[in-house]
């Protein structure tokens, strides 16, 4: 009876908790699980058998906010009217819930943008967090557009998982622009320091599955208004 109760309690716990329990004695487990109870309804239900009611969430390093730029429909709409925050999330599970419910980049109308930015940073050059930074960007022509949804997802995973970043959080956000000429994916950074940016750019190039001949360019936001501006870094 005592062993059955322990087994039932273990089945309710997340996997990494189970590892801890296995290394404990029966008495220790009993002490630790005194507050827990197994009702008749929940008996036999595990994480594997009922994933919907599984409340364990994997926290992300930051809160992320998804923004959407609505294409202009009327002449009186300004940039601030078109740029709208959609939702925010702090866990992996919330990210997947959002990702599975929103339209993919290929399903968006022309002149749309998705922006995913850290914390409360607005996806604008003028934002204090962006003003001294820049962006790595690459434009995918129409011929390579069929894979844009997968590439955008890879970019999102690399950003929220912080796998593209070094110890210091250099990344502010990631953007996809839907245009007639193709799709552009940009990685916004908080600074223009060459050493960390080169490492970030090399990883970003791998995330986007670019070939050696493809040129990933970095532009500082300070030169954003200059149409003839040259990239400060090219990989």
């Amino acid at each position: 009876m005592h062993r059955q109760k322990v087994r039932a309690l273990i089945s309710l716990l997340p996997p990494h908790h189970c590892v801890i329990i296995i290394n404990m004695s029966v008495e220790e487990v009993t002490q630790k699980t005194q507050g827990l109870s197994v009702s008749e309804n929940q008996e036999g239900q595990t994480v594997l058998s009922n994933s919907k009611d599984f409340n364990l969430k994997h926290p992300l390093n930051s809160k992320w906010t998804l923004w959407y730029t609505k294409p202009p429909v009327g002449e009186n709409e300004s940039w601030s009217d078109l740029l709208r925050p959609v939702t925010s999330f702090t866990t992996v599970e919330e990210f997947w819930a959002i990702q599975q419910s929103i339209p993919r980049p290929r399903e968006l109308p022309l002149k749309s943008d998705y922006h995913l930015f850290r914390d409360d940073i607005r996806p604008e050059w003028e934002d204090e967090a962006n003003s001294k930074g820049g962006k790595w960007s690459f434009q995918f022509k129409s011929a390579r557009a069929p894979h844009i949804d997968d590439l955008w997802l890879r970019a999102l995973l690399a950003v929220i998982g912080e796998s593209i970043d070094e110890d210091d959080s250099e990344i502010n956000g990631v953007v996809v622009n839907v245009r007639r000429s193709g799709y552009k994916i940009g990685l916004w950074t908080k600074s223009v320091d060459q050493e960390p940016l080169s490492k970030v750019g090399a990883k970003f190039k791998a995330v986007l599955q670019l070939e050696e001949s493809d040129k990933l360019e970095f532009f500082a936001h300070s030169s954003a208004n200059d149409k003839n501006a040259r990239p400060t870094l090219v990989l």
């Binding site: 294409p71 939702t87 992996v92 819930a97 929103i102 690399a158």
Partner: protein, 147 residues
Amino acid sequence: MAKYTEEELLQLKPTEDVSANFDVDGFKTMIAEVAEHHEIADLFHQKARRRSSHHHAVRPKIKAHKPKITKDEEGWCTSTRKASVVAVGDDGEPSPAFVAQETLRVKPNNKNIASSRPADTRDIVTDKPTMTFNAFAALESDEEDQV
């Protein structure tokens, strides 16, 4: 610092759809409205566009059949045009072609004919022959003295 590789995040992807924490339907509706607006705008621009020439690639064939010219022994040339349809009589011989007599009344286009009216009315005075008798001029004339 919480870090996840791409593989770890993909493993955490739920197999079933999970409800998001915002108004997904409202968001999708807004995007659908924009897409619909773009379609209507594109259609309007296509219809409102001035018709362009379609003869860039394929030009219309304007080719008249050249009459066949035969030259006899004496050097006379005769042009013959092959009729597309030849009427055949009861005896099998081709019947003489009926030529309709038509009288065409051609109205001249006055716009292309030069007007007889002078452009300047003062020309009328200068062109008009003057046969007036001036008595004073006649008195001073030397004709009689010479006679």
